[in-house]
């Protein structure tokens, strides 16, 4: 019995210790940092004044959070990030659903190949995938020329595709699409084809078979895919940083700037905490929706 407990300690102890030190502790430090005063030259002011006569503010304060609400621009950036995350999720869903459905209805041998073909580009370097769109949307690219020729024919002034909200959305969709395809496929693959046969026998047409049978059954997959896309998009800074213009700043860029630009650590930490809360509520809501959707099916 003692030996068993020792084994349990030896197996679960090291990863537990590592994650407590390098994941839990840093997260707590981040919460603490959000309530500190910023230092004069970036970083943090000490908690206790270095000498009695030292000027400045020390100790703990909710300033960083108050600062967030003092200017509407920060709330606006949060709302914009949510809008981009929502748009990306919706486009990913529209693109991924037919593909996942096709894969799920293909022959088994073909299925694995088709899934692999979805994962493969996802395995190439993240920056490279964004960079590829820099080429495609660049001002000298064939696509830009084509779009502007078409627009010119209608008498519309030429547009720049790169460094625009459009480019950000395209990049976001491109980087996150596999996260939507895989959970959808995993769900659709489990559907019993005889349900569709039954629906057909009862006189349902193709659209009714999809809307009344396949779609409701696939809701758990839709929700988990949506969460897997929505959450990383919410915190993404690289895509707007590379493909977006100066006005396309999202939460991630704002946080990055606090640490590597203006060096306002408390504000950066406060923003990170708010992002964490946003992520948690999205995850919670999705679980709740998914649960109620599957509950409905049981009834």
């Amino acid at each position: 019995m003692k030996e068993k407990q020792l084994a349990r300690l030896l197996v679960s102890g090291p990863p537990l210790l590592f994650l407590i030190v390098f994941f839990v502790a840093p997260s707590l430090i981040m919460i603490l940092t959000s309530f500190r005063f910023p230092g004069e030259f970036g970083g943090l002011a000490p908690i206790t004044p270095p000498s009695e006569k030292a000027a400045g503010e020390y100790g703990f304060t909710p300033d960083a959070y108050q600062f967030f609400f003092s200017d509407f621009i920060y709330t606006e950036i949060f709302l914009k990030s949510f809008a981009v995350a929502f748009g990306t999720t919706l486009i990913c869903l529209i693109l991924a659903y037919p593909l996942a459905l096709l894969i799920a209805r293909s022959r088994k041998r073909l299925r694995n190949l088709m899934v692999l073909l979805v994962i493969l580009p996802f395995a190439s370097n993240f920056l490279i995938r964004i960079y590829a769109w820099m080429i495609i949307l660049g001002p000298e690219s064939a696509l830009s020329h084509f779009v502007n020729t078409v627009l010119g024919a209608f008498g519309i002034a030429p547009v720049t595709l790169l460094f625009s909200p459009f480019a950000v959305l395209v990049g976001m969709v491109y980087v996150h699409l596999p996260f939507m395809v895989l959970p959808l496929y995993t769900n659709l693959e489990k559907h019993d084809p005889s349900l569709l046969d039954a629906a057909q026998d009862l006189g349902a047409n193709a659209w009714q078979r999809f809307w009344r049978v396949t779609w409701p059954l696939s809701l758990p997959g839709v929700f988990s895919g949506s969460a897997l896309v929505f959450i990383p998009v919410l915190g993404m800074f690289a895509v707007p940083d590379i493909l977006g213009g100066t006005g396309d700043i999202l939460i991630g860029n704002l946080i990055k700037d606090q640490f590597l630009g203006t060096r306002d650590w408390p504000f950066g930490s406060a923003l990170s905490i708010m992002l964490t809360l946003a992520v948690l509520s999205v995850a919670g809501l999705t679980t709740w929706f998914a649960r109620s959707a599957t509950g409905q099916r049981a009834i």
């Binding site: 679960s12 990863p15 994941f23 981040m30 960079y131």
Partner: protein, 271 residues
């Protein structure tokens, strides 16, 4: 039915085109004899030669390789332990700690580890901090793979080993470890790829010292785009492709042996 299928196929073809055309363009332009990524001029290997003469880039590649190897080692060791522990014991805290870093936006992990190193450990950021940060989120991926492998196995094998008088360590070394080995190796390959590709967490934990590959690529993209970026991208894709095919081969060889096989044939027989 036929028309519906045609519709599905064309939608799927569009999505595959969307997925692959950008990457094909990157690869093609790495052989293009022009500074601009705009139109095809002619074939050249100039950008690859330029890349191999770029000492900064080579140093960055070496550093990233070292980071990826160390991360892979640490994450595989800790992740395998975590996978075993989560599968075998009813733990409450460990699964949450293992899987949360995988699920949350990377920027949060980057920021918190940056603050932790600078404030608490008073630590100069560099390769060690990157390795620790990468290990934190790679543990989860290894644990997921190892646990999935364990879930597919027959528990009675381990009971049999214990009945035959094997100590827990002997059971692990002679029965469990050989059985989960393909998952362990797949986990190691996966954390290697994740580490060498990671940009966001590296960006926050890199400090100012040594050049690191993703950061170097980022700087090139932001500051001066030349087809050298395409060349390094193509080489990286090749590396990832090799790693994936290795992992896939392991997976297929592991599923055709051990406990998975009898169950499969039984299923087939039942059909």
């Amino acid at each position: 039915m036929k028309r519906g299928n045609l519709w599905l196929w064309s939608a799927a073809a569009l999505v595959y085109a969307f997925l692959y055309i950008p990457l094909i363009i990157v690869v093609l332009y790495s052989f293009n004899d022009s500074r601009l990524n705009a139109e095809w001029v002619g074939f050249t290997l100039f950008w690859y030669k330029a890349l191999f003469n770029n000492t900064e880039m080579l140093l960055a590649a070496r550093n990233s390789l070292i980071i990826a190897l160390c991360t892979s080692f640490c994450a595989t060791l800790l992740g395998t332990m975590a996978g075993l522990a989560i599968h075998r014991y009813k733990l409450k805290v460990l699964p949450v700690l293992v899987f949360t870093p995988v699920a949350m936006p990377e920027i949060l992990l980057g920021v918190s580890i940056l603050l932790f190193f600078l404030q608490v450990l008073n630590f100069t950021l560099g390769m060690v901090s990157i390795i620790i940060a990468h290990t934190t989120f790679c543990i989860g991926f290894v644990a997921i793979i190892v646990r999935a492998r364990l879930q597919g196995m027959d528990e009675s094998i381990f009971e049999a080993a214990r009945d035959l008088g094997a100590s827990p360590w002997q059971t692990f070394r002679l029965v469990t470890l050989p059985l989960i080995m393909p998952a362990v190796v797949a986990g190691a390959l996966m954390s290697f790829t994740l580490s060498i590709d990671d940009f966001v967490i590296t960006f926050f934990t890199k400090g100012v010292g040594e050049p690191i590959l993703p950061i170097q690529i980022y700087t090139m993209i932001k500051v001066a785009v030349t087809p050298e970026v395409n060349a390094i991208s193509t080489l990286l894709m090749l590396l990832t492709l090799i790693m994936i095919s290795m992992a896939a081969r392991l997976e297929s060889s592991s599923s055709s042996e051990g406990s998975a096989k009898p169950r499969k044939t039984a299923k087939q027989a039942a059909k």
